[in-house]
């Protein structure tokens, strides 16, 4: 069991409230996944100013000592200077500490920043990157984690959160969702893939690298590979349904999209609500109950193996 919530805003007047709405939704799925929580926010200019790229990283090697939220960790202290030195022209960086996650933003392109972070701090694990996307991961109580992410004050046009009850791999920050393995892409998963090891081997043979033992990462890498080959979210998820066995409700987001799909048996829950101001998806209705305008929303459950996709 895991919990998923996602919110795609259509009405720009709601952008300043994205974090508050998402945090309220997250609180309702804590019971579904009390061991860790991850969040993705699109368009939070506090942390990724316009014209910048942002890279979200977990510092320290996998499974290493937890990092406190105040940025006093030596790896974090050295990060800024090292990344800056690794970037052409040594631009000013914006570095934000948020629990176990550090977000680094710079006025360069995404690949350049990712490459600089990897060279500057080889032990750092990149958990998200993009022109719009910031990702936060950590283990422990989801509500406490959301506070370390300062989720309630986040702004933006789209976001999602995942509460994890681990079944397929260890409880550690890198096993935490979302999996953001392509630029401005995110995937969160409730369920378990049955044939992920086979697909992992196939992707690895094609040169794809993995950051965790998590089955959901395989789904994210598969989707990223499809998107890189020119598929849109709808097509990528239809291909995923053909290739993956097991149980899944997935919420997948991109730099302009928001999509939901469930497996053929569809025993993992999902509910969608839509108004002219937003599209929301959650594991359970209670996560949607406090959204503005829910009383007049169109509320429905996604059907098995049908891709529901929205574009900005």
């Amino acid at each position: 069991m895991c919990g998923i919530v996602g919110l795609h805003l259509r009405d720009p007047e709601l952008y300043p409230r994205l974090g508050r709405l998402l945090e309220t939704m997250l609180r309702q799925v804590v019971e579904r996944g009390p061991d860790s929580a991850g969040v993705a926010v699109y368009g939070d200019r506090r942390r990724c100013p316009r014209g910048h790229a942002a890279v979200s990283v977990l510092l320290g090697s996998a499974g290493g000592a937890p990092v406190d939220g105040e940025g006093t960790d030596p790896a974090r202290a050295g990060l800024e200077a090292a990344v800056r030195a690794a970037l052409p022209g040594s631009p000013e960086l914006l570095v934000t500490a948020a629990g176990a996650t550090t977000v680094v933003a710079a006025p360069v392109d995404v690949d350049t920043l990712v490459d600089a972070v990897r060279r500057a701090v080889p032990s750092a694990l990149v958990v998200g990157s993009g022109r719009d996307l910031t990702v936060y991961k950590g283990i422990g109580d989801p509500v406490a984690l959301a506070a370390t992410y300062d989720l309630a004050n986040a702004q933006g046009w789209q976001g999602l959160a995942h509460t994890r009850m681990a079944t397929e791999s260890a409880v550690n920050p890198e096993g935490c969702h979302p999996y953001a393995v392509g630029p401005d892409q995110c995937l969160v998963h409730n369920g378990s893939f049955a044939n992920h090891a086979t697909i992992r081997r196939e992707l690895a043979a094609e040169g794809v690298r993995f950051d965790s033992e998590n089955d959901s990462e395989v789904g994210a890498r598969f989707v990223a590979a499809q998107l890189a080959q020119g598929a849109d979210l709808d097509k990528a998820l239809r291909l995923l349904c053909e290739r993956f066995d097991g149980f899944y409700t997935l919420l997948v987001t991109s730099d302009d999209g928001f999509a939901v799909v469930r497996d053929a048996i569809a025993c993992k829950p999902a509910i969608i609500a839509e108004t002219p101001a937003w599209v929301a998806m959650a594991s359970e209705f209670r996560a949607l109950a406090d959204l503005p305008g829910i009383d007049t929303a169109r509320i429905y459950e996604p059907e098995p193996e049908r891709v529901y996709a929205w574009r900005r």
Binding site: Q28, I265, R286, L288, A289, Y300, E303
Partner: protein, 283 residues
């Protein structure tokens, strides 16, 4: 769907499906009283109230109090009528009711709403999550909106009315309950159904009645596909009669668009009752 029942109709359903009729939802015993509506309706509501309880409506606001407090009261009731405000999708609202209480839930409920109901007349003015009225024994549960998956799962008796649509696995392993759905039902409904009746005024999803034992299924619209060992059967006079009763109990006039003749009947071919080597692929 057709105009739905007034309180009077609900009470009549209650008399049919609740303690008073002694039916406890078992098939063949849940006849509508032959005296008709007037006789049943003339029963004062207090007949339904356990001795010593006051006839008043007690309100629980789940924005203020907990589901546990609500359910504790419902398990040792001090009234016969309850109203639940701001349910906000909470789980297990009015689960385990075992007295003929009238409970009105004013909003959307979460998982297992009215689970194990035994005699309650429970109405949800909204949608419900997974497993509404799961394992119901008797009583009436009415959902004015849509139901999520596994509505009425394993229920032994009583009447579950879903005025909207129900998603996957509606009536899974039903064991005697009557379920009437105003809209559609999702795939894999009535899976391994053992007894009871499922009436669908809309369409049914794929795999209807897979591995069914003995329940009777009536569908007015299309069936995307029948599951293993589920077949269409003749709609005979006795089936039209029971269909009219079920629709009436649910508050739907069994005339015109909703006339029993508009429905088709499905049930077990009984080919999976005993193991046969030739059927091994179907298990």
């Amino acid at each position: 769907m057709a105009p739905l029942s007034e309180e009077a109709r609900a009470r009549r359903s209650h008399a049919t499906y609740g303690y008073e009729a002694g039916a406890r939802g078992r098939r063949g015993e849940a006849e509508t009283p032959s005296g008709g509506e007037a006789e049943v309706l003339s029963e004062p509501a207090t007949v339904l109230a356990p001795a010593g309880t006051a006839e008043r409506t007690v309100t629980f606001d789940l924005g203020v109090t907990t589901v546990r407090a609500l359910n504790s009261e419902l398990h040792a009731p001090t009234a016969t009528s309850y109203e639940v405000l701001r349910p906000q999708g909470a789980h297990a609202i009015a689960a385990g009711v075992h007295a003929p209480l009238t409970i009105d839930v004013r909003g959307h409920a979460g998982y297992y709403c009215a689970g194990m109901n035994d005699g309650g007349l429970i109405t949800v003015q909204g949608n419900v999550g997974t497993g509404v009225a799961e394992n119901m024994m008797s009583g009436v549960v009415r959902v004015r909106g849509d139901a999520s998956q596994s509505a009425g799962a394993t229920a032994h008796g009583g009447l579950l009315v879903i005025e909207g649509s129900a998603s996957m696995r509606c009536g899974i392993s039903m064991k005697g309950v009557d379920i009437v759905v105003g809209g559609d039902i999702g795939p894999m409904s009535a899976f391994m159904a053992q007894a009871g009746r499922l009436v669908v005024c809309g369409d049914a999803g794929d795999g209807l009645g897979d591995s069914i034992y003995e329940a009777r299924i009536y569908v007015r619209g299309t069936v995307a596909g029948l599951g293993a060992d589920c077949v269409e059967k003749d709609l005979r006079a006795e089936h039209r009669a029971e269909l009219a009763e079920l629709l009436t109990a649910a508050g739907i006039d069994p005339v015109g668009e909703y006339a029993p003749e508009r429905f088709r009947r499905y049930g077990s071919a009984r080919r999976l009752y005993h193991f046969a080597a030739g059927n091994s692929a179907a298990y």
